[in-house]
Symmetry: C2
Subunit: 373 residues, 2 copies
């Protein structure tokens, strides 16, 4: 297996990853504390989709002691968004609602630019606009959420970016990100900017992200305290399995492995029926006799991770599939219906989303445009 911020390959052993990365498992004690605060647990937490963390316990301490914390997530505008891109946003919203905290969302147009020699600003700006609309559709608190593009906000953070940059050697970036002598100096510098929103407040920052983004926060955690900020905390998700099989990561670069937020009903049905990797048997007869294997069945896993929050209903689906009572086509049909309903609602929210509030006119946005770091 290979896991870096830019590459995920092979079958992922998540317990091994926790050891390799030096993070902690999200255990029952922690989940119990969150449940006490929230009244319930988001399915992503309940079902172990978010499985690893750094300092989540300290975040919860800070909350309980009245010191508070804040949230940070981001998006590289490198194309249209798929379902996998939305999952950290969905958990982030849930956390914002539960804890009533500020949230910063960084749109890393500069990252896209320096990592893709062929990308022009026109294209990146188009994607940024499109992605921001998808993100705004999530329904974050408009007075406690600030969405910004790196290129537009640089003037406000450049001194702090440099404060981080002068503490990070090329050696460190080689070790952490695998840069080489042939990496360009824009790529090498970029990680400094990505750490900055963790310092937007003096409180502790909590970052919901996929586990492959962890290296960025290692750099932050190495230097934050020396410049007067707290080490950032993070909670890490597993990778959403691609349509075509439960290994690896849903990838924007292989269109068929992903479900896009603008896929229409017909496309969804076709994609799931054609590409979704099934744990069922080759023939109906065999399936009725032997039953399917939900562990490797992508439609079932998607229901479990994303689209069937009701535990009782999920359990029934699982049992029926395992017994052979539920056929592959029927399981897929359940997913198709759920997925299309989700996307239809998302697109409605997208149309209504007040992007301006998050970026300029909301209370937090206004404050951020008056702030210089």
């Amino acid at each position: 297996m290979k896991v870096t911020p830019w590459e995920v390959e092979g079958k992922i052993d998540y317990d091994k990853l926790i050891k390799e990365f030096g993070t902690q498992k999200i255990d029952e004690t922690l989940l119990g504390r969150v449940k006490r605060h929230a009244g319930d647990l988001h399915p992503y937490l309940r079902r172990g989709f978010y499985f690893s963390h750094r300092d989540l316990n300290l975040v919860l301490d800070d909350y309980e002691n009245g010191r508070g914390f804040f949230l940070y997530t981001g998006r590289k505008p490198s194309g249209p968004m798929h379902i996998g891109h939305l999952t950290p946003m969905i958990l982030t919203k849930w956390l914002q609602d539960v804890y009533g905290v500020n949230l910063y969302i960084e749109i890393t147009d500069d990252e896209k630019f320096v990592f893709d020699r062929n990308a022009g600003w026109d294209k990146i700006d188009g994607w940024a606009e499109d992605n921001i609309r998808d993100i705004a559709a999530i329904g974050f608190n408009p007075d406690k959420t600030f969405i910004f593009r790196d290129r537009e906000y640089i003037r406000h953070v450049y001194p702090l970016v440099l404060e981080v940059a002068r503490r990070v050697t090329f050696s460190t970036t080689k070790a952490v990100f695998g840069f080489t002598n042939e990496s360009n100096i824009g790529q090498i510098f970029y990680p400094a900017y990505q750490t900055i929103p963790t310092m937007f407040e003096k409180k502790r920052c909590l970052i919901p992200c996929a586990i492959d983004q962890d290296p960025y926060w290692r750099i932050q955690r190495d230097i934050a305290e020396s410049i007067g900020y707290k080490k950032t905390a993070a909670i890490h998700s597993k990778f959403l399995p691609p349509l075509t099989g439960i290994f690896g990561k849903m990838s924007a670069s292989i269109a068929d492995t992903a479900v896009w937020l603008n896929d229409d009903e017909k496309t969804i049905a076709k994609k799931i029926n054609k590409y979704a990797f099934s744990g069922g048997q080759p023939s109906v007869e065999e399936h009725r006799k032997k039953g399917g294997n939900p562990e490797i069945d992508v439609p079932f896993q998607w229901l479990r991770l994303l689209f069937e929050p009701d535990d009782a209903k999920l359990e029934k689906i699982e049992g029926d599939y395992r017994s052979g009572a539920l056929l592959t086509g029927e399981l897929k049909a359940i997913l198709i219906e759920k997925l299309n309903k989700f996307l239809e609602e998302h697109r409605k929210k997208r149309e209504r989303a007040d992007v301006e509030k998050y970026m300029k006119t909301g209370k937090l946005a206004q404050k951020m445009w008056e702030t210089h770091y």
Copy 2:
């Protein structure tokens, strides 16, 4: 000898430097063309203080063909300024007056910050303010000159900085600037910003600078055309000899080797009499007999390079010194008087300087604050 943007050591062989750096000698033909345009030649040019160039011939072609050009110089705000820091500014003003062109002056506060781990913004900002006042005192055309601090102007240039950065590998910066794996990522990124003012206009840029700054422009010249700009031109000066000897470079880090713009009359007299390296003989008798050696005499060289523009007067001083008619103390007295007069005038101009015009309200400054690259 060793010549990099951060270090100048040993006796400099300027002909060898031209070969090593791959620049061109400023020859009589070129000087003749400038003289035709200006009516006269600035002493720095007439006396070979500016000795090397890249594409000055093309700049003069552009001028003669009506395509025009523009000027760019800069200052790292790392402390108070000395006489040596002012010399490129003085020639730049002369060129602006002769050719009536725009001038951009970059105050590289970010460079200072990333190259000096101990420097705080308060201190750097204080130096920047002080330096800008010294620069404004030169009397550039207030409607054709834009002085800006990197930190304040970053929002306007960040996309173009990234456009350069993504074309420069770490390997290149290693070769050109001698960066190592232990260089910080702020240092590694910085050269991209320093190239940017060469692209403020689509015309050709001309940079008057000391020869040790040439590496920055090599990077610019490698990529400018691929992103739609002209390769920058430059004219290079020799190093102003430090007070203590004619080798090396006047250094801000050894206070006694430099004359500071805020040195008072008494300090100047004391410094020159005590530290200025003399080409005279140990005793008056011996000096009268053998005469002095103006080639290695710092007071004479300073008069030649900076403070005695009148060729006839300079020739007389040289002859008298060589013959022994002029004593070391008398030669130093001439320099002390000239220097104090220069500094007194400079300080008056400094008080009157309208910094705001260059930075915000002049015609060019206004235009630049409306421009995004």
